[in-house]
């Protein structure tokens, strides 16, 4: 007997649907929203409206790519939160109506738990227990993963997410949104010769808002002396900012590994595409004898495969919700 899960994700600006059968990803379709580029960030109302025209096509294509029909779906898993409420409403309402119409059980999924379980989309997969650093435009946290559905957040950001630090720096430097890929590319041609202070945050928590402020003051000061400072030093500024963001992340990861004694170390979320972070993880891994894991890019950014996968593990344990479920903007794991 197969178990086939339709996963639906609409927490931010990507509309996604995926089919997972018996824990294996058969399709993973994402409709992005280029429209936000011109605004320098995700505009919630624009995102919500785009989800409304993307939701049926992504589900239809996900089924088609999986070679399955509507009748083959056994359960519907959907992102209940955290995320933008208008965006979530579209995916959640569609998922509920689809499940109701076909008499299927519903599975609510926490978006952050799903990012961690994206590691089980394909081999190599970490073994339990492992530590996962989830870094994206909206989230930065270290998660202790004891089992598929047994996770504990060991530390998280007290202000901005790491991805936000990239985006806000990009705004200061006049780079397009999202700025992460631009900074990554420019940094490869520069040297990290400018020193931005590392925030002193206790335990395993993070802070990135101070970094943004110190970059702003640094640029203001330098530009008073040389109005062309940014253009003349763009690559070096990018390399310096990126090096600091990565060092903040890695220092806490090393601390978490030391405290827990765990040597299975994973990264998830959109920022895990960053080449400096990948390199730093590899270096630390060699130094400390870690096994390290980074999913392929399509499973790092927001995607429904991770939602359907999480749905699969919840299905095995009979963790369903009723039709009265509604989305939530904030939802801790």
């Amino acid at each position: 007997m197969h178990v086939t899960i339709l996963g639906i994700e609409s927490s931010c600006d990507d509309t996604s649907a995926a089919i997972v059968r018996d824990g294996k990803v058969l399709s993973n379709v994402v409709a992005g929203q280029e429209v936000h580029k011109q605004y320098g960030g995700v505009v919630p109302e624009v995102a919500s409206r785009a989800h409304q025209v993307h939701i049926v096509p992504v589900v239809a294509i996900a089924l088609q790519q999986a070679g399955l029909r509507r009748e083959d779906v056994d359960a519907v898993a959907f992102t209940r939160g955290p995320g933008l409420i208008g965006s979530l409403l579209v995916g959640v309402s569609f998922a509920k109506a689809f499940a109701l119409s076909r008499g299927l059980p519903l599975i609510e999924v926490n978006h952050l738990q799903a990012h961690v379980l994206a590691h089980f989309a394909e081999a190599p997969k970490p073994s339990f227990p492992f530590l996962c650093l989830t870094v994206s435009g909206g989230h930065t946290q270290i998660v202790l993963v004891r089992n598929y559905l047994d996770m504990e957040v060991l530390g998280s950001t007290i202000d901005d997410a790491a991805g936000e630090a990239f985006d806000k720096t990009g705004k200061l430097l006049g780079l397009d949104y999202p700025a992460g890929p631009h900074i990554d590319r420019l940094a490869q041609q520069g040297t990290p010769r400018f020193d931005f202070p590392e925030p002193q945050i206790p335990e395993l928590d993070f802070s990135f808002s101070g970094l943004k402020t110190s970059i702003l003051y640094f640029l203001k000061k330098e530009m008073a002396a040389n109005p062309d400072f940014i253009q003349e030093n763009l690559a070096d500024i990018c390399a310096s900012v990126q090096a600091r963001i990565v060092s903040i992340l890695m220092r806490k990861m090393e601390k978490a590994a030391q405290q827990t004694g765990i040597r299975e170390i994973a990264i998830a979320g959109g920022v895990s595409a960053n080449s400096a972070l990948r390199k730093a993880l590899e270096m630390s891994g060699k130094e400390h004898g870690w096994r390290t894991f980074i999913p392929r890019f399509e499973y790092c950014t927001d995607n429904a495969a991770m939602i359907a996968l999480t749905g699969y593990y919840k299905h095995l344990r009979g963790q369903f919700v009723g039709q009265e479920v509604a989305p939530v903007a904030r939802w801790s794991m």
Binding site: Y39, G40, V43, E45, V46, S48, R49, Q52, V53, I55, V56, P57, V59, A60, R70, G86, L89, V90, G91, V92, S93, F94, A95, K96, A97, F98, L100, S101, R102, K171, L172, G174, M223, P227, I230, Q323, E324, V325, A326, P327
Partner: protein, 228 residues
């Protein structure tokens, strides 16, 4: 006879009905604030049970397009799409204001103009004007209603019947003796005549790409040009 599911979520009232082409078989309404998303499918189940028809027996799903609450419309339209896509049923889109004008005309039976109004926060309403035969006279717009907003009509001795969730707050500023106020509010029950007509004419909306009638573009504050 077309068996239709009727969805009206353009206002603070979440309203669901099932009709068989001539009469309403079931109706469920809830004005619980911010509860549309949680309640809508449960109300659909309750209607289907009362009407004694499974969702698979529906001929189509009719949804109120707006203008209205963005949140309400998102929930109503996404739910309608979910059912239509899952069961391969056609989608019927009916204009919220036209529906409201028609329902008000049916009740009031006056040889007047009809101005359905949907509350749009602050002093704004989404409104349009229809004649007594439900023909559009003035297209939908977001209006900040003042004493003179309808002065041209009143000057021509044309009476206007105002109804809907936005009418009540305009009472205080519309003093003309030609202004009448009707208590009719948005309800799935009112969707019936226009939804039946659309079904008979096979006027269906595209299940994949249909969008609610938002009326206004998203409110976007453009970033300051250049930080330096």
């Amino acid at each position: 006879m077309a068996l239709l599911l009727l969805i009206e979520t353009a206002t603070d009232i979440c309203s669901i009905g099932i009709s068989d082409g001539t009469q309403l078989l079931a109706l469920r309404e809830s004005d619980a604030f911010h509860e549309h998303a949680a309640r809508i499918t449960g109300m659909i189940v309750a209607c289907a049970e009362e009407a004694g028809v499974p969702l698979s027996a529906l001929d189509a799903v009719a949804v109120s397009t707006g203008p209205g609450s963005y949140t309400g419309l998102r929930i109503g339209v996404s739910t309608a799409k979910g059912i239509c896509y899952a069961l391969q049923k056609p989608l019927i889109a009916v204009d919220t204001l036209q529906v409201l004008a028609l329902a008000t005309a049916h009740l009031e039976k006056r040889p007047a103009l009809y101005c359905p109004m949907i509350d749009a926060r602050r002093m704004e309403v989404y409104a349009a004007i229809f004649d007594a035969d439900n023909r559009l006279i003035q297209p939908a717009a977001a209006l900040r209603v003042e004493e003179n907003t309808f002065a041209d009509y009143f000057a021509k001795e044309q009476a206007i019947v105002f109804s809907g969730s936005g009418a009540e707050k305009c009472k205080a500023v519309l003093h003309s003796p030609l202004a009448h106020f009707s208590p009719v509010l948005c309800s799935a029950a009112h969707l019936m005549p226009l939804a039946n007509a659309a079904f008979a004419a096979k006027t269906f909306a595209d299940v994949a790409y249909f969008e609610p009638f938002y009326l206004k573009p998203p409110n976007i504050t453009t970033p300051k040009k250049g930080l330096w």
